[in-house]
């Protein structure tokens, strides 16, 4: 228990690919040519591509060494707030790499792809059930892409109603993708502040909502990990003025089986399969951001849609009111396979347990650490809790210092400096797949750090001390960008 898990390990230095290149090497077997070689015109062809020349073992060792410099969920607890870094089940990877899944060409037609279409169709139905909505598109490629699809649907809805609107209300706790997505639809973002309890009030929204406002974008639970308990009243007053309610489902992991967004006034919602539904984040994607909508908004879903006609699954491209196509084919199909496998493995009760344990873990951390870290909103949280560095300020220790020191102790740090409404935010989302024992180790590590802040602040200022590299000069990186070797 007291032995610290963080250690420097055996880490190799490894140069850039081209520094290992030796002319004459190649790392792939080239098929022999059994037909005539046909030269293209000289003016069309290039000189050689200056790629490195490496053997297969060279390549394997290079990337194996690189991988050892990385921290993943499989390496240790990764409590990044708002990112839901849960365990990614291995069987899901096996399913996605099956020959018929990985090998299927996207243009083989309905008859040749029934199983793939059925999988997408069934996933659509299950996601609609989990969220209490009517229809689903699984086409968007990531959360922000789903947001864009959702906002385009809202835009189209107003256009069909005969009058386009110009603004959208977005809370100060929102992810940055919300206003950025709204801008792409030509909407001006109007900021609404949360109250002293960290939630939105109907009064604050009522003051801003008018008939030139397309609607509101709400994350529930919000990024403070708090449930927006006035959501229904807010939705009612937005609807009364002809607006729509967009739900950012990034935090769906907190409420499965307890709350269905479709039953509390949400009109359109995106999900992040790489958060709630356990598909790996891949060091930055590929994710998947399905969008679920009410019956009224179904005609606006992006094409193609996957539908069922009698016993046959079909790809439908002809939808006159659709916002149009969002992805070259049908979305991130192999990510959908993983989420589908996850839902089938968990079942209804399993998903409800997921939310229960995710919320239990977060509240346990909140209660365990609120003595040593400042807790700006001391009330029951959902799946994540937000502290800050107020108590450490007297020792000139910041959230970043504590985050970096956690790396020495063997943990990935929480999300830092977000949400923006909390100064020096330290946002912890443990997820349900971390055990009490691991969480206790994390709590002890944070307590050790707050003790060090008083007694040995220098070790925090210099942290991380045992990682492959120490703190990097980000200012220099941006001032004189070097983006290629």
């Amino acid at each position: 228990m007291n032995s610290q898990i963080g250690t420097s390990g055996l880490i190799f230095n490894e140069p850039q690919l081209w520094d290992k290149s030796i002319p004459g090497r190649c790392g792939i077997s080239i098929p022999s040519n059994d037909v005539a070689k046909i030269e293209l015109s000289k003016e069309l062809t290039r000189e050689n591509v200056e790629f490195p020349e490496l053997s297969e073992p060279d390549v394997v060792r290079h990337y194996t060494r690189l991988s050892q410099w990385n921290f993943g969920v499989d390496s240790g607890m990764y409590p990044l707030g708002s990112c839901t870094m849960k365990y990614n089940p291995k069987t899901n990877e096996v399913q996605a790499s099956k020959q018929e899944i990985a090998g299927a060409h996207p243009l083989i037609g309905d008859d040749n792809s029934q199983g793939a279409l059925k999988l997408m169709y069934d996933l659509q139905v299950m996601l609609a059930e989990i969220t209490g909505m009517h229809a689903t598109t699984v086409q968007p490629a990531a959360g922000a892409h789903g947001e864009l699809a959702g906002m385009l649907i809202i835009h189209k809805y107003h256009e069909k109603k005969g009058r386009q609107r110009s603004k959208i209300i977005i809370p100060d706790t929102a992810h940055g993708t919300n206003p950025a997505s709204a801008t792409l639809c030509g909407y001006e973002s109007i900021k609404v502040s949360s109250d002293e309890n960290g939630v939105l009030t109907p009064e604050a929204v009522a003051e801003l909502m008018d008939e030139d406002t397309a609607g509101i974008m709400i994350t529930n639970p919000n990024t403070l990990g708090l449930f927006e308990k006035h959501i229904k009243e807010i939705a009612d007053l937005v609807h009364a003025k002809g607006g729509l309610v967009y739900g950012d489902g990034a935090n769906m992991n907190a409420i499965m089986g307890y709350v269905k967004p479709g039953e509390i006034g949400i009109d359109v919602l995106h999900l992040n399969l790489h958060k709630t539904f356990a598909t790996p984040h891949g060091g930055g994607g590929p994710g998947s951001g399905p969008v679920v909508v009410t019956k009224e908004l179904e005609p606006f879903l992006p094409v193609p849609i996957i539908a069922k006609n009698n016993d046959k699954y079909v790809i439908i491209e002809d939808m006159p009111d659709s916002i149009g196509r969002m992805h070259t084919f049908y979305g991130h199909f192999n990510v959908l396979v993983k989420a589908y496998s996850y839902i089938l493995s968990m079942g209804a009760e399993g998903l409800k347990n997921v939310s229960e344990y995710a919320v239990l873990n977060a509240n346990y951390i909140k209660e365990s650490l609120k003595g040593v870290l400042n807790l700006p909103y001391d009330r029951p949280c959902m799946h994540e809790c937000v502290f800050n560095d107020k108590k450490q300020a007297q020792f000139h220790i910041t959230t970043m210092d504590m985050a970096k020191r956690l790396l020495d102790l063997g943990f990935h740090p929480p999300t830092v400096y977000f949400p923006l409404v909390v100064e020096g935010a330290f946002m912890v989302e443990p997820t349900e797949t971390e055990s009490k024992q691991t969480i206790d180790e994390f709590i002890n590590a944070v307590k050790t750090i707050t003790q060090e802040a008083k007694e040995n602040p220098e070790i925090l200022h210099s942290a991380p001390n045992i990682t492959k590299v120490t703190r990097l000069d980000e200012v220099q990186a941006a001032r004189k960008p070097c983006l290629r070797g």
């Binding site: 790392g27 792939i28 040519n33 059994d34 046909i38 591509v49 020349e53 390549v59 394997v60 290079h62 990337y63 991988s67 410099w69 990385n70 921290f71 990044l80 990112c83 990877e93 020959q99 990985a102 090998g103 996207p106 793939a116 490629a141 990531a142 835009h155 940055g176 950025a180 792409l184 030509g186 308990k229 307890y258 039953e263 790996p280 891949g282 060091g283 930055g284 590929p286 916002i323 149009g324 196509r325 992805h327 084919f329 979305g331 199909f333 192999n334 990510v335 496998s341 493995s345 079942g347 399993g350 998903l351 919320v359 239990l360 209660e367 349900e432 990682t467 492959k468 960008p481 983006l483």
Partner: protein, 443 residues
């Protein structure tokens, strides 16, 4: 459930600490009237072994077994994928990491993507490449938005030989902000008719795909010249990345922006996703590019390392003023592409690209021998258009079903004037014998 570590005792101890009597009471902060009344209606949970069986059953109705032969491309290509690449990309240090926000413990992802950016700039002949985008179509849409914002104009010209699905995405992205897309028709050679751009008025840019949707290699020199005459940005796109192993890069022709699909670089077809969006630009446009960029820097001990950089363009900093709304990109697929490109290397990429061209040329010759006509007299890479003799459509359907041969994509769906025209493809995975078997069936 094996993914959930909580024992009854753990739960009791944790509830005690939180001062909440039961798991259910953890949700007391949600008003009762907002809670759902019924349990979720989902299928009964499956064990790992039942899931295997279920998936075997489900996938048996997908006609994509190992014996299938793909004489089709159209934005998704059948290429050999080395076992080493699959093996390496499965390493969970890569797969289960988040976006590299903590660079000290993400140097693997960061150096890997930095090397990816470097190889993409080399391949495209551009100054800067981003850390990836969703797919070729969405990448292209982002480059159009850059041009429109940069030039502060309302109109942009797009070749009618850009992948039809990509053109649909462009419409979706540009519609709400009122930008106008003008399509440039194609000529009798199956190439973009740049003559038609002359009368288009002020345009922010011209987007051209090469090889184009018909497989033909466009005259990018003429594209650049046309852009200059219009003071427009030159956007060059591609769906078959391997063509750049053989063809002159868009950078050599003076492209301002490049958008492409990188699925050919070691990624499975996977029914069209996840692929890999590529975006590259000139140094001048560096700060207008969407999404993440990795840069090289030094740590506090003077040791070389890598970080996410120029984040002030991005949504988490600039919010409504960001250059794009993208957050997650297709990072793991960019890493896969880097592994593939490092494996094929300088000589391999050229040899494989040449093989693609040779196989496609052979397929074309053999089809001509059995009555197919070639409508466009242009040089192509690994795809070309052929007009089928009578009776081909019925044979084509039967071949899919009986032999797993996918012989051509019908073009009249996308170009109604091209009845009986098919888009054929052959890559390095097609053997001479495969072509001969196909010919045997269709003659």
């Amino acid at each position: 459930m094996r993914y959930l570590p909580h024992t009854k005792e753990d739960i009791e101890l944790m509830l005690e600490k939180t001062g909440v009597p039961s798991l259910k009471s953890l949700f007391d902060c949600i008003p009762d009237k907002l809670k759902t009344k019924d349990e979720l209606k989902l299928p009964k949970p499956l064990t790992e072994w039942e899931l295997d069986e279920h998936m075997d059953d489900l996938t048996s109705s997908i006609n994509a077994s190992k014996k299938c032969k793909y004489f089709i491309g159209g934005g998704s290509y059948d290429h050999f994928r080395p076992a080493s690449v699959n093996y390496l990309i499965s390493r969970s240090e890569f797969a289960t990491a988040y976006t590299p926000y903590q660079p000290e413990v993400s140097q693997g992802t960061l150096q890997g993507i930095y090397e990816f950016q470097t190889m993409i700039t080399e391949l495209t002949g551009m100054d800067v490449a981003t850390a990836s985008h969703y797919d070729g179509g969405t990448a292209l849409a982002e480059t159009l938005l850059i041009a429109l914002n940069k030039k502060k104009l309302q109109k942009i010209a797009v070749s009618s030989l850009i992948h039809p699905h990509h053109r649909e995405i462009l419409k979706t992205y540009l519609y709400p902000t009122g930008y106008e897309i003008i399509e440039i028709p194609y000529n009798k050679d199956g190439l973009t008719d740049f003559e038609q751009v002359k009368n288009m008025g002020d345009i922010a840019g011209i987007a051209v795909q090469s090889p184009n949707f018909f497989g033909n290699i466009e005259d990018l020199k003429l594209a650049r010249k046309t852009c200059d005459s219009k003071n427009a940005l030159f956007i060059s796109s591609f769906t078959e990345g391997l063509s750049l192993g053989l063809l002159k890069s868009p950078g050599e022709f003076g492209a301002d922006l490049v958008a492409g699909e990188g699925q050919s670089f070691g990624l499975s077809k996977s029914f069209g996703g996840a692929g890999l969006g590529l975006i590259a630009g000139t140094k001048k446009l560096m700060r207008n590019l969407p999404g993440r960029l990795i840069g090289k820097t030094l740590d506090s001990n003077g040791k070389q390392g890598y970080v996410l950089t120029l984040a002030t363009r991005e949504q988490h900093i600039r919010r409504e003023k960001a250059s794009s709304n993208i957050c997650s990109n297709n990072g793991l697929n960019a890493m896969t592409a880097a592994m593939y490109l490092a494996s094929v290397g300088k000589t391999g990429i050229r040899e494989i690209a040449q093989l693609n061209h040779d196989k496609a040329f052979f397929l074309k010759q053999e089809l001509e021998k059995v009555g197919f006509k070639i409508p466009f007299n242009s040089e192509f890479f690994n795809e070309f258009v052929a007009i089928a003799p009578e009776g081909f459509e019925a044979k084509r359907k039967r071949l899919e079903k009986d032999k797993g041969f996918y012989a051509g994509i019908e073009l009249d769906k996308y170009y109604p004037e091209l009845k009986n025209h098919y888009l054929f493809c052959a890559t390095e995975t097609i053997k001479k014998q495969d072509v001969e078997n196909l010919i045997q069936e269709v003659k």
